[in-house]
C-alpha cells in the first residue's frame, strides 16, 4: 500500500509548526512533510515519487521570496504525477488577481486564509483527502476511520471496488 503524504510549504517556520500541530490527528495515516521553499518542495516530491508514494494535499503559502505559491501549484498541476493531488493556497495576503489566477491555472481546490481555526483546517484536510482517495479509486478501508467513511463506502459500492473474495 502506498503512503499518502500531506505536504505543506511556507517560508515562515511558525506557520509550518502551526499546521503540523493542527493536523496531528491525521499524522498516523497521512504523514506531514514540510518545506520552506518551492525548490525544497520539489526535492521532497522527487523523493516521495522515488519511493512510489503519493501526496494527497499540498498546502502552499502564496507569498514566498523566489516563487509564489500560485506558480508552484500551477507547476504541480501541470506535472502528470501530481495532477490528482489536492491543492490548497494558504495565505492571508494574496490579492484577488493572484487568487483568481491560482484557481484558473493551478486547479486550486481550497483557499485557507490566515488565521485559520484548527477545526476548519482539519475538516478541510479530511474533505480534500476523501476527494483524493475517491478520485484515485483506492481501496478505502485504510482511510475510512480517519476520513469521511460514508462517502468512501458509497463510492466503493458504486464503483465495485470491493468484492467477495
Amino acid at each position: 500500500m502506498n503512503q499518502i503524504y500531506i505536504l505543506c510549504i511556507d517560508d515562515e517556520a511558525d506557520v509550518l509548526e502551526a499546521v503540523e500541530r493542527d493536523l496531528a490527528t491525521l499524522e498516523n495515516v497521512f504523514p506531514l512533510e514540510t518545506a520552506s521553499s518551492a525548490d525544497e518542495a520539489r526535492g521532497l516530491l522527487e523523493r516521495i515519487k522515488q519511493q512510489g508514494d503519493e501526496v494527497g494535499i499540498a498546502f502552499c503559502d502564496h507569498v514566498m521570496p523566489k516563487e509564489t505559491g500560485g506558480e508552484f501549484l500551477s507547476w504541480m498541476e501541470a506535472t502528470p504525477y501530481w495532477k490528482k493531488t489536492r491543492k490548497a493556497l494558504l495565505t492571508g495576503q494574496a490579492g484577488l488577481e493572484a487568487t483568481v489566477s491560482a484557481i484558473n491555472n493551478a486547479g486550486l481546490d481550497f483557499y485557507v486564509s490566515k488565521p485559520w481555526t484548527r477545526e476548519g483546517l482539519v475538516q478541510a484536510a479530511k474533505r480534500l483527502l476523501t476527494d483524493y482517495v475517491i478520485e484515485r479509486d483506492l481501496n478505502p478501508l485504510p482511510y475510512m476511520a480517519t476520513l469521511d467513511a460514508e462517502r468512501l463506502s458509497a463510492h466503493a459500492y458504486k464503483k465495485g471496488l470491493l468484492s467477495d473474495t
Partner: protein
C-alpha cells in the same frame, strides 16, 4: 517484497515440486502432479504472495500445461513410435509389444490426439512382429510402441475441460447474479428497497437494528455480501453519528451489518461464491439443486440464525437511547431504464423460484438478465466491465482443481487416509464443518470452500453409495458453516469494512463472531441431519 511474500513464494513452489517428485505409495503420476498443484494453490491462497484470483488463474495454467492430454507430460507427442512397415498384402507390420491387453493398438493422430484401433485381423509373422489389418492401419499410421505409456494410461482431461470451467453453468448463474446486482446498484434499487423496508420498524433501537439486519440479509442474498455491506454502511453511519458517543448501541449497529450480510449470503444459490463451489461439486456428482429448493432449505436457517444474532447483539451491546434518528432521503428512480431493470429483476427471480412449474433450470434462467439487460441498454459497456470478474476466476479455478482431484483419483487417496465409515453422517459433517469453520475464519470463504468441497464430496459420495448418508444435505450444511465464519476482520470482506469504520474493536467482533458462529455451526449440523434430508435426496 516482505518476508511473508518471499516465504509464500518459496513454500508454494517447493510444495509444487514436492508433490510431483516425492514418490508416494499408491499415487500415479497424474495424481502426484495434482497433489503438487493443490499444495501450491493452498500455500498461495493462504499466504497471498500474489492476489488470490491470480493464484486461481495459475492453477488453470498449471493444469493445462502439466495435466492435460495436450500438455508437456501427457501429450501423445511424448509417446515413442513403433517401427512399422507395410507388407506386400497391405497389412501393417508392427512389433507385437505394441498390442495392448485387449489386442488394440494406439495411434498418434498428427501429434494432437490419440486414437484407439482394434484391428480386424492379427497374424504373427515371426521375429516378435504381427501383421495387422483394420481401419486406419496403413503406411501413414503412427503406431505408439508402448501401450502402457503415460499418455495412454493417464486418461488425462483435454485442456478444453479446464478452460470450460469458466463457462460452466454455475459461472453463468453467478454472472446472472452480477448483472442483476449491477442493474440494482445503477438505479439505486437496493437503497430504495432499504428505505421502504426500514420504515415500518419505527425508531426504537432494537427494532431499527432488526430492520437493518433484515434489509442487509435480504439484499446480500441476491447481491455480493461485500457490496451490500458497503451500501448499508452509507445508511448506518449517519445513524451511528446520531447516537451518543458512549452508547454501546453504536457497536451493535456497526456489527449488525456484516453479521447479517454474511448470514444472508447463505439464503440463495447466488448469495455468496462458496454456494457456487458447493453447487458445482454437487453437479459433478449428478445432483442438481434448483434455486427454489436451495431457498426452501436455506431461508429458514438464515431467519433462525439472523434472529439469534439480533438477540445476541442486543444482549452484548445494550442500547441506552430511547429513540433513534433514521432519515433516509431519496425516492424510486422512475426512468424507463430503471423500470426495465426492476421488471427484469422481478421476472428473473420469479422464474428462479417457480422452476417446478416451467422446468427451465436455474442456470438457464440466469442468462436472461445477462442478455436482456444490455439489450435494453439498462447495462452498458462500463457496467459490464464493472462486474467482479475476479470472483468468477476464483470459482472457475476451484471447479477446475476439483475436476483434477476427482479424475486423477487424488481425492479418493486423500480421504483414504482417514476411516470415515466409522464416523457416520454426523461425524463427517462435524469434521468437515469444524475444519471448514476454522479455515474460513482465517482465509477467504471461497478459497476454503474450494479446498474442502472436493474432499467432502468424495467422502460423501462414498458414504452415500453405502446408504444412510444424505450427500446434498451434508454439503449444504458444510457450505453454510463456511459462510458463518466471521470471528476476525480478515474472515470476510464485510467484517473488514465494518472494522475499517473505527466504530468497533477487534474484541467486539470476535465476541459476536464466536457466539453467532458456534450457534450457527450447531444449527447447520442439526438442519443438515434433520430438516434438509426431507427436502433433497
Amino acid at each position: 517484497m516482505n518476508l511473508k511474500t518471499i516465504l509464500g513464494l518459496a513454500l508454494g513452489i517447493l510444495g509444487l515440486a514436492a508433490g510431483i517428485f516425492v514418490p508416494i505409495e499408491g499415487l500415479g503420476l497424474p495424481a502426484q502432479i495434482t497433489l503438487g498443484i493443490f499444495i501450491f494453490a493452498a500455500v498461495f491462497w493462504i499466504m497471498e504472495p500474489i492476489p488470490i484470483y491470480a493464484t486461481s488463474m495459475l492453477v488453470i495454467l498449471l493444469q493445462v500445461m502439466l495435466l492435460s492430454s495436450q500438455g508437456f507430460i501427457f501429450s501423445v507427442r511424448t509417446a515413442p513410435l513403433a517401427e512399422t512397415r507395410v507388407a506386400e498384402n497391405g497389412a501393417l507390420v508392427v512389433p507385437a509389444s505394441a498390442l495392448g491387453e485387449g489386442g488394440e493398438v494406439y495411434l498418434n493422430k498428427s501429434n494432437k490426439s490419440l486414437a484407439k484401433v482394434v484391428p480386424t485381423s492379427v497374424e504373427a509373422v515371426g521375429e516378435g512382429k504381427v501383421a495387422l489389418r483394420g481401419k486406419g492401419l496403413d503406411g501413414e499410421a503412427l503406431v505408439i510402441a508402448d501401450p502402457q505409456h503415460r499418455s495412454i494410461s493417464a486418461g488425462a482431461n483435454s485442456y478444453s475441460d479446464f478452460y470450460g470451467t469458466l463457462a460452466s453453468p454455475i459461472i453463468m448463474l453467478f454472472l446472472g447474479g452480477f448483472a442483476l446486482a449491477a442493474a440494482a446498484v445503477k438505479f439505486g434499487l437496493d437503497r430504495s428497497l432499504t428505505r421502504v423496508l426500514l420504515s415500518p420498524f419505527g425508531k426504537r433501537p432494537a427494532m431499527v437494528c432488526l430492520g437493518l439486519m433484515i434489509c442487509t440479509a435480504t439484499l446480500s442474498a441476491f447481491m455480493s455480501n461485500t457490496a451490500t455491506t458497503a451500501m448499508m454502511m452509507t445508511v448506518v453511519l449517519p445513524i451511528v453519528g446520531s447516537i451518543a458517543p458512549g452508547d454501546p448501541f453504536r457497536k451493535c449497529v456497526a456489527l449488525a451489518i456484516p453479521v447479517a450480510a454474511n448470514i444472508g449470503g447463505i439464503a440463495t444459490p447466488i448469495g455468496t461464491p462458496p454456494n457456487a463451489i458447493a453447487l458445482a461439486a454437487l453437479k459433478e456428482s449428478g445432483i442438481n439443486i434448483s434455486f427454489s429448493t436451495w431457498m426452501v432449505m436455506a431461508v429458514p436457517f438464515t431467519i433462525a440464525l439472523l434472529v439469534f444474532a439480533w438477540w445476541m447483539l442486543l444482549v452484548l451491546f445494550k442500547p441506552e437511547a430511547e429513540q433513534l434518528e433514521v432519515k433516509l432521503s431519496g425516492s424510486f428512480d422512475k426512468s424507463a431504464k430503471a423500470i426495465a431493470a426492476y421488471l427484469i429483476f422481478a421476472a428473473t427471480v420469479l422464474l428462479w423460484v417457480t422452476e417446478k412449474l416451467h422446468g427451465i433450470s436455474t442456470t438457464m434462467v440466469a442468462f436472461l438478465p445477462i442478455a436482456i439487460l444490455p439489450a435494453l441498454g439498462v447495462l452498458d459497456k462500463k457496467d459490464i466491465r464493472g462486474f467482479s470478474w475476479e470472483v468468477l476466476w476464483l470459482v472457475a479455478g476451484g471447479i477446475s482443481l476439483g475436476l483434477s482431484l476427482k479424475s486423477t483419483g487424488l481425492a479418493v487417496w486423500l480421504i483414504g487416509l482417514v476411516s470415515w465409515s466409522s464416523l457416520g453422517a454426523l461425524g463427517v459433517v462435524i469434521v468437515f464443518g469444524v475444519v471448514g469453520y476454522l479455515v474460513a475464519n482465517l482465509i477467504s470463504h471461497t478459497v476454503s470452500a474450494t479446498m474442502i468441497m472436493p474432499l467432502a464430496i468424495t467422502v460423501g459420495a462414498a458414504l452415500a453409495s453405502v446408504g444412510g448418508f444424505n450427500l446434498a444435505a451434508s454439503i449444504v450444511s458444510i457450505t453454510a458453516i463456511i459462510s458463518i465464519a466471521m470471528v476476525l476482520p480478515i474472515s470476510t470482506p464485510p467484517n473488514a469494512i465494518a472494522m475499517a469504520t473505527g466504530i468497533i474493536e477487534t474484541k467486539d467482533m470476535a465476541k459476536v463472531g464466536v457466539v453467532v458462529g458456534v450457534a450457527g455451526v450447531a444449527l447447520a449440523i442439526v438442519f443438515g441431519l434433520v430438516y434438509w434430508p426431507l427436502i433433497v435426496r
